[in-house]
Amino acid sequence: MHRRNSLMLLVLAFTLIVSVLPATAQSPVEVTLWHMEQPPHRVERIQMLMDEFNAANPDIIVSQEPQNWGEIYTKAPAAVAAGNAPEMLFAIPDFTPILKDLGQLQNVADFISTLDEAHSFYPAAVAPYSYDEGVWAVPLYNMVQSLWFRNSVFEEAGITPPTTWEEWLAAAEALTTDGQYGIGVPANRQLYTDQTIYNLMINAGADEIYNSDGTLRFSNDATVAAYDFYSQLYQFSPPDSPNWTWGEAEACFANRTCAMIMQFTVITTYDTQAEGDPEDLGVVAIPAPADAENPGAISYANGVMFLTDDPAKLEASQRFIAWLMEPENYGRFLNMEPGLFLPVTEDGAEAESFWNDPLVVKYRSQVETMVANSASGRLFGFTNGNTFPSISAISAQNLLAQTLQLIVIDGTAAADAVAEGQSLMEEAISG
């Protein structure tokens, strides 16, 4: 009994001593990254990189929490308001103004300068995050949409890959046969539809949604032409296109139900769930009207925002990102989805770790086409050197897509729908 009491006293004393010890400086700084790269292989790659970083930096523990693009516009502001925000959060350009309004977003201008000296950012990648006398996210990877198809399907139909709208519509019609839709274009009120309709707006000459003074110029003839043409393509798209996001389009292409789709990439899906024949996988720039002056496609750099003002946590977060941007790590990070994520730095574009990935080696010509397409990429609200933070309200409500639904679901004429779209946008950005 006496021995048992002694043991109890010993345990109690130890507990008391441990509990009154200060949180020592030796304790690692813990930081969390929220990202929206949910597919398991991407989560696995990010975890692999974090494990390497954590092993090399015992004073820091970086962990990840995958999120969902469909919810993050709601969840992140709520997390900030509740004081539960992560230290790092992935972003696209129109997402940053929402969090900046909450006052927690850190200006990373100095950090960008440091990284730029070491790696040389492409200016177009940083520009959308630069406004209100600050830089609000570190660009990490670029994405661009292209037109994907199978060469054999075109050869069988006796047609060549389209470069003009006229050829594109004719191809969609010719390729619509029993069990195959000529093209898969989404009509969901969702970001993917915003992106695909914006491809056509760019090529119709309607890439500027804003006038230089910040007023809207969405309702114009070029926008109407883009929407009208989209609705013509939509006739050759599967009936469940109004519910599509990126995954459904890729599946439609992989299982040969869709002959063409507009997508950032299909390489992984095509390689793992379809034929995986690099010779047959075709990719070209998004077709444009024959007289298009400045064709292109939607393209933007995803970045990472810092949501902590705790110096230790901010420093730990920046050390992780700086480590990630080193060429020997950066290529492996980009290749969490080979062929989808493109470099935003000059040394990253030459990194062996990027080009040596087996899937990138196999589909090198497709990746090179995507890199070439990204040179003429644009993003709504961030064109010609202008940045309009109010675009976040338009983007969060998917008003480009909602305008399309007025046409293809409700049967409204394109001109009326675009006019209605502009009034919805004006309401969205009003106080």
């Binding site: 009936p239 519910n243 439609c252 299982n255 639904q405 969205a428």
Partner: protein
Amino acid sequence: MSASTAQPRRRGVGTPRWLGYAFVLPLMLWLAATILVPLAQSVALSFQNVRVIGTPGEFVGFANYTRLFESERFWEAFGRSLIWVLGNAALQTVLAFAAALILKQNFPGQKVARIWIILSWIVPTVVVVIIWRWLLSASGGIVNYALVALGITQEPIGFFSTGDGAFASVIAINSWRWFPFQAVILLAALQRIPSELYEAASVDGASTLQKFASITLPGLQSVLFVMGLIGTLMSFNVFDVIWLLTAGGPSSATTTLPVLIYDTGFRQFRLSQAAAISVVTGVFLLLFALVFMRFAAPPSDDGEEERL
């Protein structure tokens, strides 16, 4: 057991009155914290101009309510909510009645069937939605495959591709999910109706329809009243099934008031306006409940209307 011991104990004998209040106090405090406080905050929020959660707002009086009542989207969503409630009520009542009457019969496997029927109700909503999206998909869904294979349609149908189709599909799926719950309640009520009544009616030569109208329906009146009240309130507030299936689309065709509240608060980032819609919706449902209880309550056994 003797007759004296079978007497019910008189309530409160030997126990202080405050003890009863003490027992319910934690629950009342919990309810106040989880219902009254958020409710008060919503009302306060509806008189401000807060946009993104966590940002400050200014007092704007009734501006959000004025804007709301002038909004076409609000009245469209309100109308859709009424259609939603009526559609679900009609479909679920028919299905529940049919299921309850069948399950009341004696047949081999009756017990298994009574358990089996509640499966759709106990399966999580997300699973229900995923299953139905797969079933109804135009790209490989088994329903479309069967329709085309049987020659009923030439091409797959986009069940969620048109406004009317999506609304009807969502009502059907929600009814499929909830009718077993009602069927089980109805079945329990049906079993409480004495079989002697049916036997006596048969002796008197009553038809099946007469027995249903004169015995079954009156016997279920109390249950139908409760189902009508609770079911309407629950149905009006359904958000998960609609949001997960269509997110209120296509082209707002399935945007009922709960969906509009979410959309306004968390996609349009107009939190105060969303709060105003919530308050108006809450008041409407409260009024409905009062009117329903006043005019639809069945008479009690002593001939007076029941009061909840």
